[in-house]
């Protein structure tokens, strides 16, 4: 990359922000931000949740207007008043939260987002072409309903690329890709950059930023806390700029695992959703005192597997899921909770927590059996005390236990939900995407909490699309692909390459016991 493109001539930058400030109530989200992005530059925006990255990107994309400061586009001052105007200028954005319609197909969703309508037949062909070229496989005729978060993100990326932007804003784009697919995406991004497209790359994955980005601007508490050439920095030095202090690493001390607490035996589950993934013959045992991770690209059966373990979907055979030695395949989520299962779902708002309810009320959601409901009556005071203790123990930033769940940032709500489940004393803990979109500091707290659980003898099953995370906290890792699960092997026996290969369904090459299935 060092030699890529015409040397960034000191002509006008593609985008320049001068003294951008934005205040929300008492919070100064952006404080006199200065930023320049050269043509063909891949520019990282690094910062914890709440550092002001999202606000800044919203200003660039015309979603919000700054209180003061100016924006220059190709050297000329502009007022970006709406996303439509931003798109006309040539700015495209892949959001972290997707605005897609459930009942429409991929092609229809993309057609809606395009400013210039395109005939449907042509559009489908263009979608296929772009998705093929950039290694983002999606089917234009697929209906959004039933697609996983990862697949939805692909739709968003393809949608942006169809607009042929000259500035592409990407908000945490790699969290759903296999290592190999990340390679492909990076190649794409580099190719785009060499074609002169500037890229604003928001991420908290320091390795990726160091590998991909030419320049990094680091935000802390709404201010620019520094800028760096990421290739010349270490993870530690970047993290220091980001959090303003040293970061501890999670340590996984070797430990003897105990008895099997969660056992999946021949778990086969036809998908009720025509676009879902059917699970076929899944076998897995998770012992007390170990963390087992399931890696895989989203949409390969994770959603279905999680629902089958949590009890949101019932299995045909009671013995397919055993909790602490008891058949639970036909048991309701409440019964499974009574057997000691605690569960943190992938979706925080609307599943793990009710948006419009307070944190105290949200404690009752799963804490009903643990003293927050007695004789059919809500124990309001106990629920408030419970929520308060959770907030304190996991340093959840919020306005108190009566704050509505929707008022918390993603990372803080996740800390609350993980904390709630941990404080409900699990015997088996199931966690899906523990640190999705969570900042480095909160991710560390969550990972450490899971390790503490393991050290206390709990059986922990983590389903994550972040390999780095699985390698850092798991004793054993299994890979899910096409609804089948590889054998769970010690983390040390896997490499990023073998995991990546297994993600494509080739288990044998990775040393797994499953036979190779033709055509996968």
């Amino acid at each position: 990359m060092t030699t890529a493109g015409p040397a960034p001539a000191r002509t006008a930058p593609r985008l320049a922000l001068r003294g951008i400030s934005k205040r929300y109530g008492s919070v100064l989200a952006n404080d006199s931000i200065e930023l320049e992005v050269a043509p063909g530059e891949i520019h990282a925006i690094l910062g914890e949740n709440g550092a002001g990255k999202s606000t800044l990107m919203k200003i660039v994309y015309g979603v919000t207007e700054p209180d003061s400061g100016s924006i220059e586009w190709q050297g000329a001052a502009v007022d970006i008043r709406s996303p439509a105007q931003a798109r006309r200028l040539g700015i495209a954005m892949v959001f972290q939260h997707f605005a897609l319609f459930e009942t429409l197909t991929v092609a229809e969703n993309i057609a809606l987002a395009l400013d210039e309508p395109s005939p449907e037949s042509q559009l489908a062909a263009r979608i296929e072409e772009v998705s093929l070229r950039y290694g983002l496989p999606i089917d234009p005729q697929h209906v959004l309903h039933g697609m996983s978060v990862g697949e939805r993100q692909r739709v968003e990326i393809v949608r942006c690329l169809l607009q042929r932007p000259s500035l592409l804003i990407m908000d945490e784009p790699t969290s759903v890709l296999t290592p190999q697919a990340v390679r492909v995406l990076f190649q794409t991004l580099r190719q785009l950059a060499s074609e002169g497209v500037s890229i604003l790359y928001i991420s908290h994955k320091l390795d990726e930023i160091r590998e991909l980005c030419d320049v990094a601007t680091i935000l802390r508490n709404g201010r620019v806390s520094g800028s760096a050439i990421p290739r010349e920095e270490s993870n530690a030095s970047l993290a220091r700029l980001m959090v303003g202090g040293e970061l501890e690493e999670c340590v996984l001390m070797p430990r003897e695992a105990g008895e099997v607490r969660l056992a999946l035996t021949g778990l086969t589950l036809p998908s009720s959703d025509p676009f879902g993934t059917s699970l076929s013959d899944i076998n897995l045992g998770v012992r007390g005192g170990e963390i087992v991770g399931i890696a895989g690209v989203s949409g390969n059966g994770q959603k279905e597997l999680v629902a089958a373990i949590s009890g949101e979907t019932l299995c045909a055979a009671a013995g397919a899921v055993r909790l602490c030695g008891i058949d639970a395949g036909r048991a309701s989520p409440v019964r499974r909770r009574r057997l000691g299962l605690r569960f943190v779902p992938e979706e925080r708002l609307g599943r793990g927590a009710v948006d419009e309810m307070s944190l105290a009320d949200n404690s009752i959601l799963t804490g009903a059996d643990s003293g927050l409901v007695r004789h059919g009556m809500l124990q309001t005071r106990a629920a408030r005390a419970f929520a308060r203790a959770t907030i304190d123990r996991f340093a959840v930033k919020c306005a108190g236990e009566l704050a509505l769940a929707e008022s918390l940032s993603g990372g803080n709500l996740q800390k609350f939900i993980v904390g709630r489940e941990i404080r409900l004393e699990p015997k088996v803990m199931l966690v899906a995407q523990p640190t999705w979109g969570v900042d480095v500091g909160a991710a560390l707290v969550i990972r450490q909490a899971l390790i503490d659980l393991r050290n206390a003898g709990v059986a922990v099953l983590v389903i994550s699309e972040e390999l780095e995370e699985l390698f850092s906290i798991c004793d054993r890792i299994a890979v899910i692909a096409g609804g089948r699960l590889s054998a769970a092997m010690p983390s040390s026996k896997w490499t990023a390459e073998t995991v990546g290969l297994s993600m494509t369904g080739v288990f044998e090459a990775a040393g797994g016991s499953e036979p190779l299935v033709a055509g996968l």
């Binding site: 009890g311 949101e312 609307g350 009752i364 959601l365 009556m377």
Partner: protein, 339 residues
């Protein structure tokens, strides 16, 4: 802002009404007087206000618990009818035997009748995933035709000169009135009691909590293991029971017998009341008073201003229209776009 939407809608409804009336050549001040002052200037008038508010309150309270849990029972009118039939049937045929127990047993029968009628859409929904909206609505017409059959046929009063009506209920089978010179009955206390009960149920009990969660976030309800089936049954039983009670209170109150029509659409109007009251018990109490006032104002406008009886329907519709519009504009902003 959201709380303001109901008063705002009421105000806009009032303005529209007055403009409409003056367009029809009526003096708006006089019309306002006829509509909103005159009917309530006597004890009798106030009694009527409370009397008509009672069934609206009962039905709307029952429905609102379901609506908050995403269970859309819109057949309260039918449940009201069956409740009236069941309760008055007990009064007509066993009133003598039961003596002073007649009324309590009738109340119970009314509630059970409404529940039984609501059990049909609940069963079909939980067993076959049939829409409770359609089933409960269609059952309204079946209930009304059944009532019509009874009063034209087997239950017709033989001494009633062929009028399609049952015998009058005996004194021991009638709900006592509250004030001398007015028709409002003790049913009002039951409605207010239900309002207090539903507030308590919604905010303090685990069952009420589960219903709220199901309404606000179905995926969170599934995650927490809240039974969708249980909620549907509970919501339909509460809604049906309350409507059945309202029907019995009408027949064993101001009407005093079964006749082909026992409600001017209380069960449907209650849907508007539930939303005007923002599905909250206090709001519903106020909303049912407002809607009852519209009924009475419409009646007096009919007599004094020679307006058609549909005028109260127009007012009700305007209220719902403005309420929905206010909700829309609270959540969304109108923006000009260049094409």
């Amino acid at each position: 802002m959201r709380i303001a939407s109901s008063p705002l809608a009421a105000l806009l409804m009032l303005l529209t009404g007055l403009v409409t009336l003056s367009a029809l050549g009526k003096d708006p001040i006089a019309a306002f007087n006829v509509f909103f002052i005159e009917p309530f200037s006597s004890i009798y008038g106030i009694g009527e206000l409370l009397l008509k508010a009672t069934p609206l309150m009962l039905c709307a309270l029952g429905l609102s618990l379901g609506y908050r849990a995403n269970v859309w029972n819109i057949g309260a009118e039918g449940q009201l009818t069956i409740g009236a039939i069941a309760g008055s049937g007990v009064g007509l045929f066993y009133g003598g035997v039961l003596g002073s127990w007649a009324l309590p047993v009738m109340l119970l029968a009314g509630i059970l009748g409404g529940m039984a009628w609501a059990a049909i859409p609940a069963l079909l929904r939980t067993r076959f995933n049939t829409s409770e909206i359609f089933v409960s609505l269609m059952l309204v017409y079946i209930a009304q035709l059944f009532l019509s059959y009874l009063v034209h046929g087997p239950w017709r009063d033989p001494a009633g000169q062929n009028f399609p009506q049952s015998q009058a209920l005996a004194d021991n089978a009638l709900v006592p009135t509250l004030i001398e010179g007015a028709r409002v009955t003790a049913g009002l206390w039951m409605a207010l009691g239900l309002a207090a009960l539903s507030w308590w149920f919604g905010s303090a009990t685990a069952a009420g909590f589960r219903m709220r969660v199901s309404g606000m976030a179905p995926a969170a309800a599934a995650y927490a293991g809240i039974s969708a089936r249980g909620n549907i049954w509970l919501a339909m039983m509460i809604g049906g029971g309350a409507a059945g009670l309202a029907g019995l209170l009408e027949v064993a109150g101001p009407i005093g017998m079964l006749q082909p029509v026992i409600s001017p659409g209380y069960g449907f109007t209650a849907i508007i009341v539930a939303f005007v009251g923002r599905l909250h018990p206090v709001g519903i109490v106020l909303g049912s008073l407002l809607m009852s006032a519209l009924y009475l104002g419409g009646e007096s406008a009919q007599i004094e201003l020679q307006l058609p009886s549909s005028v109260s329907g127009v007012f009700q519709a305007a209220l719902l229209f403005f309420l929905l519009a206010a909700e829309l504009f609270i959540h969304f902003r109108l923006r000009r776009t260049r094409r």
